[in-house]
Symmetry: C2
Subunit: 623 residues, 2 copies
Amino acid sequence: MSFRAGGSAVASAASRPARTSALAIAAGESRAPGSDSSRRGVATKCSATAAAAVVIEGQRELYGQLCKKLKEVERLAGIQGLLSWDEQVMMPAGGAASRANQKTALAAVIHEKKVDAGLGDLLRQLQEEQEGEAASELSVHEAAVVRDAVRDYNHETRKSAELAGREADVEARAYAAWVAARKDGDWEAFAPSMEENGPDILPRFSVAHLPILTLVPRAFFAACSSLRKNNNTKTTTGKNAKLGKMVSVKRDVAEATRSELGGAYEGCLDQFERGMSTERLREVFGELKAGLVPLLRAIQEKVAKEDKSGAAAERHPTPLHSGEQWGKDEQAALCRDMAEKLGFDMSKGRLDVSVHPFTGGPGPSDVRITTRYSNNWMEGVAGTVHEVGHALYEQGRPGGDMEDLPVSRALSMGVHESQSLLWERMVFQSRPFWKFAAPLVRARFPHTKGVSDEAFYRGLNRVAPSLIRVDADEVTYPLHIILRFEIEQGLMDGSIAVKDVPSVWVSKMKELLGVDVPGDAEGCLQDIHWSVGAFGYFPSYTLGAVMACQFLEAAKLALPDLDSSLEDGNFEPLKTWLNREVHARGSLFASPDELLTEVTGDIMRPSALVEHLKSKYTEIYDL
Amino acid sequence: MSFRAGGSAVASAASRPARTSALAIAAGESRAPGSDSSRRGVATKCSATAAAAVVIEGQRELYGQLCKKLKEVERLAGIQGLLSWDEQVMMPAGGAASRANQKTALAAVIHEKKVDAGLGDLLRQLQEEQEGEAASELSVHEAAVVRDAVRDYNHETRKSAELAGREADVEARAYAAWVAARKDGDWEAFAPSMEENGPDILPRFSVAHLPILTLVPRAFFAACSSLRKNNNTKTTTGKNAKLGKMVSVKRDVAEATRSELGGAYEGCLDQFERGMSTERLREVFGELKAGLVPLLRAIQEKVAKEDKSGAAAERHPTPLHSGEQWGKDEQAALCRDMAEKLGFDMSKGRLDVSVHPFTGGPGPSDVRITTRYSNNWMEGVAGTVHEVGHALYEQGRPGGDMEDLPVSRALSMGVHESQSLLWERMVFQSRPFWKFAAPLVRARFPHTKGVSDEAFYRGLNRVAPSLIRVDADEVTYPLHIILRFEIEQGLMDGSIAVKDVPSVWVSKMKELLGVDVPGDAEGCLQDIHWSVGAFGYFPSYTLGAVMACQFLEAAKLALPDLDSSLEDGNFEPLKTWLNREVHARGSLFASPDELLTEVTGDIMRPSALVEHLKSKYTEIYDL
């Protein structure tokens, strides 16, 4: 939380007028290239009560100025959120090129404001006053604002224009190469975008073609900001031909912005999951692997045995088949009903349709979620519930004094995912929920009249290893993530070469999931993440799954009647508990572990997920 | 087109390197507080050929830098267009407050860029080089870019922060007062907002409640920018209690920004209708009044006679009654069909529903139009055609090199309205159109099977004086406008007092339309315009009607088969002609008169409208 730039001395607090609206500038101007000790000297000299009071007065003044600047940036970023939603949901195809220009113009404005020297001066002064001996008058929430503003400012300013440009260029090229390579299932065509010294591929792509991941776009976009900036960059070969490639540019970015974390992959992780280290992640994922691989084997063996005996159909008499009788209008009405029943506030949000479901929009008072309706009706409903989970977090973030300030933001991608997964997996995929939901489905879809509550529940909860992450069930999903973590971490520390990714992928899929990979398209080219530079993002999905279990455990302790209220379709107690315990805390805590400790008494505890899955599927599969 | 700020000397062109990317800054830095003659001296000294070539080189460099700055502003303004569309069409009610904050933040960024000193320096240098002896290498389109950039810069910078704040404050207060006063039909409650020294009314309003006029919002918003900026201003009584009111603040704005035009009302007009003077407008409207008042009287006498004889129903056997059988889905499908048939490019736009129909969106490649569907089906269809007229202008504005530059903008509000009215009144309300359209309506609405083409045509073309402008037919509409022009012009020059507006309104309504006004709500409080400071806006509606006639006359000369192609539903020839003659010219010309002269050979000619209406309604009413 310190500045890389050399320390700076501020004017003596005692000599500063108590209320000066130009305080920041005055202090900035009087700054001398002083040493760290000279600054400390200033601080220690003014320990008299009167002087301390003056310091506090100045601190509040500075804090007010800081908030003004931060809110301005956040409001402009909210507009980015709306542009992004519109692009995916409303924009006609012909608008893509000028939309890209508009986004570039806005991104440039925001970047300028984020690296504004005046902002840096304010932060420096506030930090110095907080570190000084005078008592801080900032509340814990205000201190968190300063903490995260410093963090953001450091990350923004430490990336040089040259590096940002190189990163943007590589990301744009790699994304275009990935789109082409995936079509052909050919990793070798993509590999040069990842490696140093590979040939150049010249893209000219529009963000309109960029699939949106199922996530809250703001956090993701923060990580991929350089991608956005580049949307309309007219890249030329010539002088850029010697540009470094993805892996090395990501190493450089990590080193430049987060060298204090001590590693390239640490730097990547920190963009999405603050406070998480590679070592810790390896422990967490090791425990998951140790618990889930045997569970999967046991399920597979049981299924194989049942297949022979014909008992499998009895276990999963699934009504979840696709077919024409699942009308899209009825699906839409059901999804809308469910979203509202779960607590999504339609007066502060919308539910629409997009190719790739996501949660986005301009801010907590206007949260836009999307889903899609296909013949596989459950996809639309499950997608809606998942996005509602994200949306409740967004709608529940702290407002009032904290609105548009860093402390009101979601804490991490993993915590965000914990909220979507809590509703999707822990509620929607639970037995109590289907006691409530089955009648709704039967009412909308008369052909399901004979389907029991239990049949819906079992239809939703089947375990079967598959090639594709996004289609995976809750037992195999973490294994997909662990595979990706091991590979991307290896790429970053150099223990895995880019050219070896396909073979490593194949052997890890066999090891973890027992699945044979027929080609790169269904293997290492299936995900967009690496092509847009989102290294370190995958772990958040599974950290979210772990945290969802921990939060639900705590909720059940606080709400002994939770299951019966879910059966009754009364989601208010759970939503209210999450609002209070998680959502309203925004980014008050400095890491998910701190939040978890406050809410559940534990730090991240992977056994929570393992126990949950073991218990659930031991019962379902009668292991 | 001159700057108010004192003249500035630039570095000698001869001493300037031929290609310096920092040219503008270098020139700006070397600027001395020189007199106008010293600047001229520089220009006359470098008349040698070599030096002239250098000047031209510099000119292109400067022009390139100018375009970069202008495009950035225009792209951010495009985002404002999207925000505004979203607010009216998509935004949930709960998003209003933070949307207002977001718009305020963006408006502040745009304002900063519009009054940027670097932009001013560039413009000064470009103007000086153009006024110098060296030949200009700028094309006519490029010269128009410079011309309008100077115009915009002057208007932006001439308004002091104090004046802009005062204007914003008065507009916000007046709007809130109008909303309340209209509800009660009480002009006296609104009058203090218009007058100096009236009591203060403290509003706290959201733009979400602001009805949108039927127009292209960009131009309107440019005029009401201060309103937008103020959406979220927390106005306080105290120190603002002595603020001037609407009429005087508008006088001050006109004096500050457009003093060269020589009058307050001239300044108001120039915001919407460049090149138009009060005197000229009085002539135009005088001619319209002289032609239309007798026409209306003749129609009314005929109708009165027919009412007695029972022949009126025969003349207008209208199928245009409202009723349940006009299903909204069918109306929507019909409107979509019509929009596409008229040439609206759905790949570069959308058609949605909003409370108040409008044309807007982020730019020419993404034009968003709206309409509304009620039991009065013709309202939705006519509204769609009207907005398509605006939209074709937007979609047809020049792109390529001219994209996002002032020269690609619509020329004036009147020219914009000429395009919507050309399609709505000259095409949609014509006999040939209904030969094409009647079968479409009959196909969608079986209960109209027995309605003849002629019955649709006549049903659409009825003349009847009424109280409300927005419901008026094409003969009485101009009289509503003339009334408003006479009053607002009188308010500006002081010949009409604010308190006398209701009585003047009543007597003018009687004089022009023969109508008795029962109260202020249906009288002088019916329009939003004055309450949001849009003085000088009303005339554009009728200037548009005049120009629509002139453009259609010219189109008929160029396209002798136009009527039969309209009968066949072939709108391509007319659209293509308008694209070429009007839309693609953007703001190349400095005034509507110049454009009219180029396209039709005439300046604004009110007799075109009088003749059109006389001829049309003499036939319909058999006068």
